[in-house]
Symmetry: C2
Subunit: 350 residues, 2 copies
């Protein structure tokens, strides 16, 4: 009769950032898979695609022409889910039918003029330009009195609903604070009020001591598989210093962010020797009038692949109706990511 072992026995883990639990079933890692196979992205793409609406100089669906940009390029999403011109209004029937008008803005950020690259294939200097655009967009949008939260994210890969392989991300900025950052605000505030330090400062100290879930480090940033990771190879990328938003980062911290982004995404691509799909995004303080000393900026990576370039994790029945569930342990996932080289696999075949 063995004693409780996180590597062997089914258990629940708590996510202190959002207050939710997840089910971990380590023993299920080896079940056979006869279901849907994903199509790995093996396309060879041109550096410039005349049919791509994000490439320099091309014309978009609404008739606008992209400039001949050479670094990054930002514009308002032609099919944004959020817009500015929304009349105020609310609905409330007995607290059961409740709605509120929501306004905001959707932006698209091309990471590079090159149609055939992705973040892990870009240089650190080029990724640093992406960090600068994120910072500038956050500063400008966050300063607007009608914007309470700025969500910066990237959907990478067709399996993550990305409809164009040209390297790009999005920003959805809106009046109210959406669900996930609102939960993280509440959890971080409660922790900060009790301890006088950010939740992620103390969490990071534990992880740096334990080492089992670390993926990579540099002088200013750490990437790790959080103890409560839901997706198989989910990671959390965070600065050692408790900054609330991108505008507080020093030049050295922004360089180090670009370095960490590059090395982390290279490890992802190397894991299954494929352009690794994910949704990733920054969580930062709400852009209201408050100081938010409780907030510790961080970036989540949610990648769906589980066992190979073609076998993914599905967040379906039990996960939608009950709570998140994972088969492989976060510790095992971290070990796999740690053992990857930081030279991109494609550079060997060139």
């Amino acid at each position: 009769h063995s004693s409780f072992d996180l590597a062997q026995h089914p258990h629940r883990r708590y996510n202190p950032l959002n207050g939710e639990w997840l089910l971990v079933s380590p023993h299920r890692a080896l079940r056979p898979w006869q279901g849907q196979q994903e199509a790995p992205d093996t396309a060879i793409r041109p550096a410039h695609d005349p049919t791509c609406y994000l490439c320099p100089g091309n014309v978009r669906a609404n008739g606008a022409q992209n400039p001949g940009y050479t670094g990054t390029f930002v514009f308002d999403n032609d099919f944004a889910a959020l817009r500015d011109d929304v009349p105020a209004g609310t609905v409330n029937q007995g607290g059961l039918l409740r709605a509120e008008a929501e306004s905001g803005v959707g932006r698209v950020i091309c990471f590079s003029p090159r149609h055939d690259l992705t973040l892990p294939e870009m240089s650190q200097a080029d990724i640093r330009r992406v960090v600068d655009v994120w910072t500038e967009e956050f500063r400008i949008l966050g300063a607007r009195p009608d914007i309470g939260y700025v969500q910066i994210f990237e959907n990478k890969g067709a399996v993550m609903g990305c409809s164009n392989p040209h390297p790009h991300g999005q920003i959805w900025a809106q009046r109210t604070v959406p669900g996930e950052p609102a939960k993280e605000s509440g959890q971080q505030l409660a922790y900060f009020e009790e301890h006088g330090r950010t939740l992620l400062t103390d969490y990071l100290a534990i992880e740096l001591a334990e080492k089992t879930r670390l993926v990579l480090e540099n002088e200013h940033w750490v990437a790790l598989v959080p103890f409560w990771a839901g997706w198989p190879f989910e990671t959390l990328l965070l600065p050692r210093r408790a900054v609330r938003d991108l505008t507080q980062l020093s030049e050295a911290e922004k360089d180090a962010f670009a370095d960490a982004l590059r090395r982390l995404t290279i490890r992802y691509d190397n894991l299954f020797q494929t352009s690794f799909p994910y949704s990733a995004g920054l969580h930062q303080r709400p852009t209201d009038d408050q100081a938010h000393p409780e907030w510790h900026l961080h970036m989540h990576f949610f990648p769906p692949l589980l066992r190979s370039a073609t076998v993914r994790k599905f967040m379906v029945g039990y996960e939608l109706l009950a709570n998140a569930q994972r088969d492989i342990t976060p510790e095992w996932a971290a070990e796999r990511l740690r053992s990857q080289p930081e030279v991109h696999y494609k550079s060997f075949s060139l």
Copy 2:
């Protein structure tokens, strides 16, 4: 300058069952889609497949042989995420690394011996047998002192992570109450304590009066697109009477449940003339020692298809990092489902 209109303007809606908000962007319904296409399920299947581990008489991966069943068939999942033999144990480091052993059981329910059928193609009498098995399993598992919650669900279609087309569902029953039912418990309890009626009793009364989100009704059940639906064609199927779990349903209510299940899933298949994928499941009271008069049993259907048999909704970047988002309105989705016939499209081509 128009006034606020739910059918036109971006807005947030509140889900009183789980306390979360979602973003609705009605104006985005017509954006072009150039991304991933789903493969519709057009396979013609035999009534019995010798390679299927769920068909009567066949041998499963663990060597067990299925009986020659003629109705439903239930067995312990050979690769269950939950098991009985878990030693007790907890981890807690500063409230930041928290884990608890979790025990439970995973069951598989074959809905029919016929490999080539799905719920909408089965007779009402055969679906009623599925309802009876769900009820019996809930009764037996729920009576166990070590089981605090019983989650009954079905993943249908390869796109929903279903690895075998043989019509079947699952039960994951466990010691603790998972996240979603725990949230619904809290919300329903607060409402019940304030009003002395279940939340869904009052919500249903509003929907029956407004009619715009109804899909179908019979004497005992109503299917509707909830005001706060996140998935494009999400529905809520609920009994008119506030019962806490399946064991409280009368014979007539169980017959009517089978009727509603059949008619709802036929409408789904007819919508895009395809075997409509979804994850669906029952939410019922926790199986602890308490009475739970606040609980109103209901069934959620979460189908991913958006515009056709090949274009789905992705719950990715913004949705994972911020909150759920939808393009078409729940009212429009309900209207589409309401306008479908209740004769299965395949029966015309036979």
